[in-house]
Every structure is written in C-alpha cells, then in structure tokens.
Symmetry: none
Subunit: 158 residues, 4 copies
C-alpha cells in the first residue's frame, strides 16, 4: 500500500516534471503576450510606435501587434525579423554582418521568398540552450528597435 502510494506519487511527480520541461521548450500565447507587453511598454516610454511579432521555434507566427501610428512597412518587417532569427538561430544584425558584400553569406537575402531581414530588431528566444521562438520589433530606427527588443527579452526572462 505504501509501495502503491509511492508509485502513484512518483508517476505524478514524473509527469509534472515532463510537463514543466516541455513547457520550457515552447512558447505559449501567454508568453508571447508578455513579450509583446514588455516591448510595447518600452516603445511607449521611448515614444516609438512599433510592430511586435512573436514566432514559434518553427518560424510560425504566434502573435502580431501593430501599435497605433506605426510605420506601414513595419508589419511585414517585424514578422520577417522574428522569422529570420529563428531560421538562422541568430539575431538579424548578426546575420546582416555576415551578409555584407565580401562576407560569407553575401546574397542570403534572396532566399526564403523575401522574408530574410539583414538589419537589427530580430532575436531568437531561448529557454536555456533550447530555441523556443523568435521576437521581431520594427517601427523606430534600427538602434531603437534593438533596444526595445533586448529590453523586452530581459523583462521576459526575469
């Protein structure tokens, strides 16, 4: 009886641990929403209306928010920044450095039906070592987009 109880407890314990581990390997809509809220708060503070996009580990769009007054081009750019960061598992500005004339990935922007962005504002989201999704911010200067995205990722991991 004690043995049975222990076994049931153990099963519950294992199941809980597995669920938690799985949860850490994927981004939920709730998580994407927290990322977006952090980014939008930062955008408001800086006076920069942005578009924020969150994609899953396969590059599929999970969330897109366009703040009022955002640059029209930013809807596509934010989504593509998040997509690019997941496809190459690196920030878009890192990919951009590799894609300049004479650099190893010159011309990479022609692939993926025009969805590759080579300037800053797209970041992979990781849980520990695991890639769980991507974040794309567009609306301000490249420096502003990068500052907003990194601030949102920091707030998210806390």
């Amino acid at each position: 009886m004690t043995a049975t109880t222990t076994q049931a407890d153990l099963a519950t314990l294992v199941r809980g641990a597995v669920d938690q581990a799985l949860a850490r390997t994927r981004l939920t809509l709730a998580g994407a929403r927290r990322l977006a809220e952090a980014a939008e708060a930062e955008g408001r503070t800086m006076g920069v209306p942005i578009v924020v996009a969150v994609v899953d580990a396969a590059g599929g769009l999970m969330l897109l928010h366009r703040m009022d007054g955002a640059l029209p081009a930013s809807t596509e750019l934010a989504a593509n920044k998040a997509f690019t960061a997941v496809q190459f598992r690196m920030a878009t500005h890192e990919l951009g450095a590799l894609a300049q004339p004479g650099q190893p990935l010159y011309g990479v922007g022609a692939s993926h039906q025009g969805r590759i962005v080579l300037f800053g504002g797209g970041y992979p989201c990781r849980a520990g070592e695991t890639l769980i999704g991507g974040l794309g911010i567009s609306g301000g200067t490249v420096d502003e987009d990068m500052a907003i995205a990194t601030q949102a990722l920091r707030a998210f991991s806390d």
Copy 2:
C-alpha cells in the same frame, strides 16, 4: 469675457467632435485587442483553440493571436479571412455563396495572390455605416469559427 469663454468652449467642442469622428473611422490596437479577447474567451468556452486576426480598413494586419494547440493552417486562414471581408466588404460565407459554380463571382478566389477565403469566419467590422476593419477566426469547424466571430463582434459593439 463671456464671449471668450464661449469661444474657448467652442474650440474644445469642435476639437472633441473632430477627434471622435476620426476615432470612429478607424480601429485601434486597443479595439483589436478587445475583439481578440472576446473571441479567445468564446474559443476557450467552446474548447476550440483558434487563431484570431484583425485587419484595418485597408486590409493591413493589426493583430494576430494563435491560441495554443490551434490548427497550423489557421494562421494563414484567419489572416486571409479578415483580409477578404475588408476587400469585399462582406462576410466570407456571403462571398463564398456568390463564388460557387454558376454564380456571379465564380472564380474570384484566384485573385489577390491566393488571399481570398470563400468559407465562413471572416467579417467586416463597421462603426455605423463605416467599414473600420475586419475580423478573421479559424481553428474550429466553419460553424464554430462563425459562432465565435459573431459572438466577439457582438461583445465588441456593446
């Protein structure tokens, strides 16, 4: 002095009326978020994980939320349903009825780079007579998608 007060009041009144008139002709991110929350609440109640998309009066994407567990195809379908409803200023199931073989708009689905959806779940959002955007729901059966969308639109207009 009374005259001055009146003039100041008048200016405030006019400015308020103008702001209200402009506000009525566009959907804000806050409004899109309320639409999404109403749709997601209905989806949870029905046990149907959905993707909800909101577009502006020109068909530009303002918000997309993918609930956890939603059908992969639903991301594109929800966005395209909202787009279609704005482009044709009618619900997608109404357009679908007109696009059957032998009906007036047979073949219309080939246009707009494959972004036209001919089954239910896409609706125009209006403020009075003015088209201010579109809502697209995908994830359940067509009947479920339509029920969720109409419920969200009802909650939104209240």
Copy 3:
C-alpha cells in the same frame, strides 16, 4: 515642277494615311482617358463608385482610376478584367461561361498568376477587326459593371 509638287504632296498624303492607320491600331493615353471619363460618368449616374482600368494590346496597364468609395477588391479586379479580356480576346463573361465545371476551359483561372477573371466587366477594345486594348470595370454588381463598361465602349467608338 508640277510633277515634283505632286510627288511631295503624295508623300505627305501617304505619311498621313499611315499615321492614321497606325493610330487606329493602338490606344493612346488620351483615348484611355476618354474611356475612363465615359465609365466614371456612367458610374456617377448609377451611383456606383468604380475602378476603371485600361490596358494596351499586350495587356500592359495604361490607366487606372479608383473613384472615391470604391470597393477595395476592385482595384485588382478591374486591372485583371482588362488583362483577361486582352489575353483571351474575349469579354470576361464569355470566358467565364467556358470555364464552368464541365465546360472546355474549366480550370483556366489557375493560370497567369491569378490574374484571370471569369465574370463580367472586362472587354476587349477593337478598332475595326484589330484588338487595340482592354477595358476593365469593377465596383458594382457584375451586371452594373457590364452596363457601365458597354456604355463607355459605345461612347468611345462614337
């Protein structure tokens, strides 16, 4: 001397006739504008804001006018109706009849990157037997679009 004069006159005469013949085989911007004005006048009379598109004999867009308040989808549809009429050298409703299930051209709408329209409102423009371009009207019901287009073509040939 009389002979010389006659020869010069003759040359002028021939050149004029050739120019006139060539002019009849192509649509000019002035001609496209007259077509558009006739269509827009008819649209105003009927209370139907339309998009009017005129293409040359190769299907290239020469003129597009979107009347205020026209259906968003109509920009692409009007242009594609004019294109279709030239590509198949027949009115779009005639092509549509051939493209119904069981008919000879069933499935033709899949070709030409989604630019084929299978319902009324697109017409070839001819000078005598020669195809010189195409006219596309979209904005009302299919019947209204066809009435506006045929009225504009009639006004144009007068």
Copy 4:
C-alpha cells in the same frame, strides 16, 4: 431664438470642421488627377514620357497614367515607387541611401514581395504632418523623375 440660431450655427460649424479634418487625412481621385496632370505637363515640357502613379495612405493604387512612348518597365516602377514612399514614409532616394551596403537598412529591398524601390522618384504626399498618400514617377533618368515629381508636388500643394 438667438440661442437656437447659435446652436444651428454651431452644428454647421462642427460638421464643417469634421469634414475638413477628414478630407485632410485622405487623397481623393480629383486630387490624384491634379497631381498626375502636373507631372504629365512637366514630362511634356522636358520631353520625357513618364508613368505616374498615386497611392493612398495605405499604399493602395488610386491612379496610374502611362504617357505614350513611356519605358515598358516604368509601369511597375512608378507604382512601386509610390508604394515604397508610403510604406517607409520617406522618399525612395532617402530609403536607398539607408539601404546601401554597410548602411542601417541594407537588404530591405528583399521585403514586400519585390515592391521596394531604392532610387529616386517616389515621394510621400502629406497634408501638414499627416501622410495622405504617395506619388511615383518613372520614365526618364532618376534625376528627371525626381525633378518631375517634386515639381508636381509643389504645384499640388499650391
């Protein structure tokens, strides 16, 4: 009675202010036509047959005119210049400077399904601070296109 009159006057005043405010936030077909006429007159003066395109604040095509003898490529280029200027809220030559190798937006031309133009001839149209549309000119050298567009915009704002 004075009160009643005042109220009626007030209502008229408010309605007028609202209408004016709304009018200032959008370009009409009549406005687009005036822009096109100014551009075409300038093109004729310079002996450069051009294509002129006007888009609304969301990038939707409102008017396209192809002058007789214009470069075939110019139809797509003029439309895309106007689209680009609205999407990025800046002239196309300004975007082009930011998109050179080593510059902040290098690679941006890959986005928006090939509709981004990085050389001169596309300009945003503003009413005060408000973006109301875009103008694209193509047909001459880049310098000629820019001269024609700026001349047309100047004539339009007068």
